[in-house]
């Protein structure tokens, strides 16, 4: 379809930049910064055609596009391919990544003065890992990128972090490594269950695994992703990592890396193991809701601004998970939007914390107070971001949160939705209380009386984020529209296959290796569930879905 391997170019531009940086003198900070900045901007510009090019007329609407598939490692029966592609779900996460990177780089201009070269290389490698994670269609390739992503972040926390950085870095690494290893094991098991061939998830989507296998493999994948999200009670690495990481690290961690976890659910854990997914839905929904309330309560009593924001992340990601598990159009769309929104708002919050940290070298709420008088521009931006994080209508936070709650209310997670809705009260409490203590009141501390307002560079960092806060809040349609068909496919994959699997359970207790698991002649070989004959029955089957569910008509239209 596309002659140019756009996705490969996109992924490896930062790598080329990183290699380029190797040859630059480590003391010429200006050059290093400029190159890193230029590379990330170029990457961002390169990613823009994806927005307009995706779902172009005549393409496979909602399917994977910009495909690249090259056999890569072929060791006997093992075949790993270099298989890339994006759909409406990954498209926006890629854009979020390429968008946030220049901002992150720009934020380091004065924040990082030591080992600038290494820092910039870390940032660029991180970008490679993140983009790669979102666009890999080969599970093995996905795993490689997933691991690539970890290492630069580990160094960023461990080398450029705060006082307690070693503890935080090790904790971060151990948590995520445990998850990755579990995933690796499950991945290999999955491969053997599927029989020879490559690691393409498109192939794995067609499998019908027996329930026990599904359960164990779902648990392994889900645990790996749950650590990344992070879900309660696996979240305790996050406050430490966020607090100790340098500003750019926190921004990237919050804006993009946490999304790898939720993306992992949407792309892998849920559609690959539909039955197990249905079985564990109550558990995950419970943990999400606990996460929302728990993290909000804990955020309320934090004394460190950055830690407060970190805990608010846990709460926001709880909303994402709840939405995704509603498994209907509104819920998943809301969850996806909330991922983007969280990237924008929480990224912006970490930048804001970074601004005052650079000035005062403290993050304790009690060290501040009355800053609004001294820093009016900063105050305005901080306030906009705060309200976006609270989810005020008109800002981005609202649309996502609203759709999540609406979607989960419509699904059989109704009671969870009701409890989660009370989270909107708590988010206002902790954010506004923090804002009040930092910005309002009298300017008592003499050190705060000489603070300078934001400079032009800092304003330039914030403006794109502020713009997005309003744009996504007022006109989210382009994004919702381009995601909808892919979300329909994802829902159909996760739901309908379950119907098929139930019907096929007695027929396929164990699969002979080398056979695809769609033996029914009646089913179209493409196997895509849209328009599948099982569809009408799905409505009648007591699968706990409300009648007239939105996903079903929408799905038929999509085909």
């Amino acid at each position: 379809m596309n002659q140019l391997p756009l996705l490969s170019i996109l992924t490896f531009t930062p790598l080329i930049g990183a290699i380029l940086l190797l040859f630059v003198n480590k003391n010429s900070h200006g050059v290093l910064r400029t190159i890193a900045m230029a590379v990330t901007v170029v990457t961002f510009v390169l990613s823009l055609p994806l927005i307009t090019g995706y779902n172009a007329p005549g393409s496979d609407i909602g399917g994977f596009q910009y495909l690249e598939n090259i056999p890569w490692i072929a060791a006997g029966p093992f075949q790993m391919s270099y298989h890339l592609g994006i759909d409406g779900i990954s498209l926006w996460l890629v854009i979020l990544t390429t968008f946030i990177m220049p901002i992150a780089v720009l934020s380091t201009y004065t924040a990082v003065e030591e080992k600038v070269k290494e820092y910039m290389i870390c940032l660029l490698l991180l970008e490679v890992g993140m983009i790669g994670t979102f666009i890999s269609l080969d599970l093995f390739l996905f795993y490689i990128f997933w691991e690539i992503m970890l290492i630069p972040m580990y160094f960023m926390i461990g080398i450029w972090g705060g006082k307690n950085r070693i503890y935080a870095a090790v904790k971060f690494f151990i948590y995520t490594a445990v998850g990755s290893l579990l995933m690796l094991v499950a991945l290999i098991v999955l491969y053997f269950k599927a029989g020879g061939g490559d690691f393409s998830i498109l192939r794995f989507y067609q499998l019908h695994l027996d329930p026990t296998t599904q359960m164990w493999m779902f648990l392994a994948f889900a645990l790996a992703f749950a650590i990344k999200v992070p879900m309660f009670p696996l979240h305790t690495w996050l406050p430490d990592a966020h607090t100790e990481a340098p500003t750019a690290g926190s921004v990237i961690l919050a804006a993009v890396m946490l999304k790898c976890g939720t993306y992992g659910y949407v792309r892998f854990a849920m559609p690959l193991f539909p039955e197990a997914n249905a079985q564990f839905t109550p558990l995950i929904a419970t943990l999400s809701v606990i996460g929302i309330i728990y993290a909000s309560l804990v955020a309320m009593v934090q004394q460190d601004v950055k830690k407060l924001v970190a805990y608010s992340s846990v709460a926001h990601l709880g909303f994402v998970m709840l939405g995704v598990y509603a498994l209907n159009q509104q819920g998943v769309t809301g969850g996806m939007l909330q991922m983007l929104n969280h990237g924008v708002s929480t990224g912006a919050l970490f930048l804001i914390v970074g601004f005052i940290y650079e000035r005062r070298h403290t993050r304790l709420i009690t060290d501040f107070g009355g800053l609004a008088k001294q820093m009016p521009v900063f105050a305005t931006m901080f306030m906009i971001v705060t309200f976006s994080s609270i989810g005020l209508p008109g800002t981005n936070g609202f649309v996502g949160e609203f759709l999540v709650l609406l979607g989960s209310f419509e699904s059989n997670l109704r009671w969870y939705a009701i409890i989660a809705t009370s989270g909107v009260i708590l988010s206002a409490v902790y954010m506004l209380w923090m804002f009040q203590r930092v910005m309002f009141g009298e300017l008592k501390n003499p050190k705060n009386q000489t603070l300078k307002d934001l400079n032009a560079r800092e304003v330039a960092i914030m403006l794109p984020l502020i713009f997005l806060i309003f744009f996504l809040g007022i006109y989210p349609r382009p994004i919702i529209d381009s995601m909808a068909p892919s979300i329909d496919k994802m829902i159909a994959q996760t739901k309908v296959q379950k119907q098929v699997a139930e019907a096929a359970v007695p027929a396929v207790p164990a699969l002979p290796p080398g056979h695809m698991a769609v033996p029914e002649a009646g089913a179209a070989p493409a196997g895509m569930p849209a328009g599948h004959p099982a569809m009408p029955e799905a409505g009648a089957a007591p699968a706990g879905m409300p009648a007239g569910h939105p996903a079903i008509p929408a799905n038929n239209e999509a085909k």
């Binding site: 009670p233 305790t236 690495w237 009701i418 809705t421 206002a428 910005m439 349609r477 919702i480 939105p550």
Partner: protein
């Protein structure tokens, strides 16, 4: 003209953006104020045009929708940015833009010389924009944008003097209390959407669509839940029990803000919302009963607190809570028209009262400033005798007070009396009716008492200011007095659009009908028919209506007489009374300790729980396990380390030992 409806909210938004971005550079107060007030005036003109065009249409055609674009569409859910024009929204648009304009004008004078003048007008315009969205949106979600938007602006304007801790606290409290209400609003929306969608395949949140499908709402638990959820939202925004405590604190904001947001417009949003969805509420007698009881209780409860406050604005704040209670009482007894009518007249006289109090504070502030006095310019105990120095303020204030006290002939009388009569005669609650009427009537007496107490303490008697300060006291400039006169005029004559039938028949033989009721008839037609169709009949007794009217007037006069007796004839008596019953006075003065109870019951436990979860669970349990695993691993590796020391003789020894062991096993097996 209808096609221009989008201009109504847009004008203030533009004004807000201009002042927000450029206000700091413009600096000139006249220009900034001119932009702000001018933009609202432009909206007012458009609103007038729409009103007249609407009047020219026959009654049943007075529902017009204008959709601008689709905001959110996902699956079956769709929300437009679109406007609904009908008699109800046109009424609200007129109130918001009209009174809004007067208050903008007033603010130019009142805020003169304040730091952050442009910021104030930016917020005030933004508020007007949000409020206009709220009242003109054609669907629940757009209403919700306005709903939260006005909450935001209220937060910003209450906290306008942000360097004061009390202002910051009050702003936050208002926002959080409102959020509790918003929680209810959202749940109501979800339940309604889901209920109609799954049961009847009607997936909509559009008001017109909902009204068309009102028959599908079968009375029952679900509808009651929907209504109660929405009502929870209303109690937050409109300061009813149990969420009213933010409103008195909101007086930390500048006085014109109190007039616009916390009296005339925003706090009535809950009433508007119920009126807008009357076709749902009428289906749930339980919800109506709850609303009526909460309204009556709030009216009475807040009135008692109002009698003991000394801060001029706090008295008015509790009065507002109390009057809002009347409106909800009206909604709860199915007297939607009467409720909206009281909303309108209350907007006139309460805005006038607040602006009048602002004028007094403005004057007091300057007078005390001359004397370098630290005395509180809002405390009525420092005032007295002001009528001689501020005649315009005094007369306008007096008329508004007579209006709110319910003296026949002025606006407040018509609307309040209509509500009391409907509370007594409504077909919905039978036995409770007398209680509702009684609570309302007593509250009316208290209202007359505390309002005239305020007037007597402020404007009459000997001044309690020093001679020098009193000398410097003078009337406010025209930008302040002109809005006062306009609003006083409306407080006097605004009620004549809705003269009750008995009065009109008696005095004019029916030649002067109840225009207001007729005007709103199509909006509430469904509810009216529904009530009639279900065989519910209210009391129809002209004699009874006259009798009750007489009683309520007598009660009001009694309140005034009592205030006169206590504060003019025997000014020492209140002191004596409070020293005789100190506990009672302290309880009333401290607002029955409701804030303290809330702190004890909700705020402190939440903080304690947060701390416990953080330090107890996160740090001890989860991190304890993680660090414990790390420690165990380290411990084991410490032991295993001895296996791999790197010394050749160790390895040799191990090998020999191993070989010996194997041999031994083979030999002795």
């Amino acid at each position: 003209m209808f096609d221009l409806v989008w201009l109504i909210p847009l004008c203030p938004l533009i004004g807000s953006v201009i002042n927000g971005l450029l206000g700091k550079k413009i600096k000139n107060e006249t220009v900034i104020g001119g932009i702000a007030a001018g933009s609202v005036f432009a909206s007012f003109m458009v609103a007038c045009g729409i009103l007249f065009q609407l009047l020219s249409l026959p009654g049943e055609e007075r529902v017009i929708q204008k959709t601008i674009f689709t905001w959110i569409q996902s699956g079956t859910f769709k929300a437009d940015i679109g406007f609904l024009i009908d008699p109800l929204s046109a009424t609200m648009l007129m109130i918001v833009t009209g009174i809004g304009f007067l208050i903008h004008l007033y603010s130019i004078g009142y805020m003169h010389g304040e730091e952050g003048f442009y910021r104030y007008f930016c917020y005030l315009n933004l508020f007007t924009f949000s409020m206009l969205c709220l009242v003109s949106g054609n669907n629940l979600l757009l209403m919700f944008i306005g709903w939260e938007g006005v909450g935001l602006c209220s937060y910003l304007l209450i906290g306008y003097y942000f360097h004061k801790k009390s202002a910051g606290d009050a702003g936050k409290k208002a926002f959080v209390m409102n959020r509790v209400g918003d929680f209810g609003f959202l749940l109501g929306l979800f339940t309604l959407f889901y209920y109609l969608g799954t049961n009847h395949n009607v997936w909509t949140i559009n008001f017109v669509e909902l009204a068309k499908n009102a028959d599908l709402l079968v009375p029952g638990a679900v509808v009651t839940t929907v209504c109660l959820c929405f009502f929870l939202g209303a109690t937050g925004k409109s300061a009813q029990i149990p969420l009213y405590t933010w409103l008195p604190d909101a007086m930390e904001g500048p006085t014109p803000v109190s007039a616009l947001i916390h009296a005339a417009t925003m706090v009535t949003a809950g009433v508007y919302m119920i009126a807008r969805m009357n076709f749902i509420f009428i289906k749930s007698p339980t919800a109506l009963l709850v609303i009526a009881c909460v309204g009556a209780a709030t009216a009475l409860f807040a009135a008692t607190i109002g009698t003991a406050q000394n801060d001029i604005k706090r008295v008015l704040a509790y009065s507002t809570v109390s009057q809002l209670g009347y409106m909800f009482l009206a909604m709860g007894v199915g007297a939607f028209t009467a409720g909206v009518f009281h909303l309108m007249t209350h907007a006139f006289f309460k805005a006038c009262l607040f602006l009048g109090s602002g004028s007094v504070i403005h004057g007091m502030h300057h007078a005390l400033h001359h004397e370098h006095s630290e005395a509180d310019p809002q405390d009525m105990r420092n005032m007295g005798g002001l009528r001689k120095k501020m005649p315009v303020t005094f007369w306008t204030f007096l008329f508004a007070t007579i209006a709110i006290a319910g003296i026949p002939g002025l606006a407040g009388f018509f609307s309040k009396d209509e509500i009391l009569w409907q509370a007594f005669a409504n077909p919905h609650h039978h036995a409770v009716n007398y209680v509702l009427w009684g609570a309302g009537a007593i509250a009316a007496g208290l209202t007359a008492f505390y309002m005239f107490r305020l007037v007597f303490m402020t404007f009459f008697g000997q001044t309690r200011l020093s001679e020098k300060a009193f000398h410097h006291l003078h009337e406010s400039p025209w930008v302040i007095t002109v809005p006062l006169v306009c609003l006083a005029f409306l407080s006097i004559f605004g009620g004549y659009v809705g003269v009750p039938k008995v009065l009109s028949e008696f005095f004019t033989g029916g030649a002067f009908p109840n225009y207001f009721e007729h005007w709103l008839e199509p909006v509430f037609a469904y509810s009216t028919h529904y009530t009639e169709a279900h065989g519910a009949h209210g009391l129809h007794s002209v004699a009874m209506e006259w009798g009750l009217m007489g009683v309520s007037v007598l009660i009001a006069c009694g309140g005034i007489a009592l205030a006169f007796a206590l504060y003019i004839v025997a000014p020492g008596f209140p002191e004596k009374f409070t020293s005789t019953f100190p506990a009672l006075h302290r309880a009333v003065y401290n607002k029955w300790y409701v804030d303290e109870i809330y702190d004890f019951a909700f705020v402190n436990p939440c903080k304690a729980l947060g701390n416990f979860l953080w330090k107890g669970f996160d740090v001890l349990v989860v991190d304890g396990i993680v660090n414990g695993v790390a420690a165990v691993v380290r411990g084991f590796s410490g032991i295993l380390r001895y296996v791999q020391t790197g010394f050749v003789h160790n390895y040799a020894f191990t090998m020999v030992f191993g070989v010996a062991l194997i041999v031994a096993v083979y030999i002795f097996r």
